[in-house]
């Protein structure tokens, strides 16, 4: 239950052309939000058009993390880009994503193979 509690969010980024794969791990809350926002904004500003954000190793998500995701969606969609979210099929992160309604704008996918080809 308390595994990873208070652990800083970890971010791993892999870029393939205009696609960026971002893997997050840890707790995505108010403390982690500025770090994740900065990294994602950097990708958008440097021309990434498709960002696949892997949340499967995220152990906690609240509205602070959701705000970062939605804010980045707004920015990239203004440039014609898109964001895809990889999530576990169940658990609190999935529940929070479902309740927020973000899936109406960012698809919730189970694995990389479900991401539409560029």
């Amino acid at each position: 239950m308390l595994e990873g509690a208070g652990k800083p969010v970890q971010i791993a980024i892999r870029r393939l052309g205009r696609t960026a794969n971002v893997r997050l791990a840890g707790e995505f809350d108010l403390k982690a939000a500025p770090q994740v926002r900065e990294q994602l904004d950097g990708l958008i500003d440097s021309g990434s058009q498709r960002i696949v954000i892997d949340l499967r190793q995220v152990r906690f998500l609240d509205s602070s993390g959701l705000g970062v995701l939605l804010g980045r969606y707004r920015r990239i969609s203004e440039r014609g880009g898109s964001i895809y979210l990889l999530t576990a099929a169940e658990g609190s992160v999935r529940t929070v994503l479902e309740m927020s309604g973000v899936r109406q704008v960012m698809p919730l996918l189970a694995s990389e193979s479900e991401v539409p080809r560029a």
Partner: protein
């Protein structure tokens, strides 16, 4: 005496996790299930994040957290002595936020993940949020 704890800490982002983990540990000791604890963690995180982001604009202040064991559940109180909320009814509406980076879902999550949820606030005096959650009844024969 029933079980309780109190925690006071500065309005810093890193203390959101501290409060969340403290309440989760307390709830686990009371016998809440893992899914219930996950919901409690989100509700606490939202309440404490609100204090950090909104209660003391540009200033330091205190997050005051208290948890009490109640009959069949837990009572969580998050209090601040900050600027307060002008219009609580408006703030509780989904999608209401004074910060464009936030989704206005904080109160929605607090309410959804509690069985009872109250907000008391006075402009210039501060805000107190109370969330009550009951433990899931054990399965028959368990």
């Amino acid at each position: 005496m029933t079980q309780y704890f109190e925690l006071a800490c500065p309005n810093r982002p890193e203390n959101v996790g501290l409060c969340r983990v403290a309440v989760a540990t307390f709830a686990a000791n009371l016998g809440f299930t893992l899914p219930e604890i996950e919901e409690i963690k989100v509700a606490v995180s939202e309440a404490v994040s609100n204090v950090v982001v909104h209660a003391y604009p540009g200033a330091e202040g205190v997050i005051a957290l208290r948890c009490d064991e109640s009959e069949g559940g837990i009572v969580i109180s998050v209090r601040d002595d900050g600027v307060g909320i002008e219009d609580v009814a408006l703030a509780r509406q989904a999608s209401y936020s004074t910060d464009p980076e936030r989704m206005g879902l904080g109160f929605v999550f607090m309410e959804s993940f509690s069985d009872e949820f109250t907000v008391e606030s006075k402009p210039g005096k501060g805000t107190r949020i109370e969330m009550r959650k009951r433990r899931e009844a054990p399965a028959e024969g368990a």
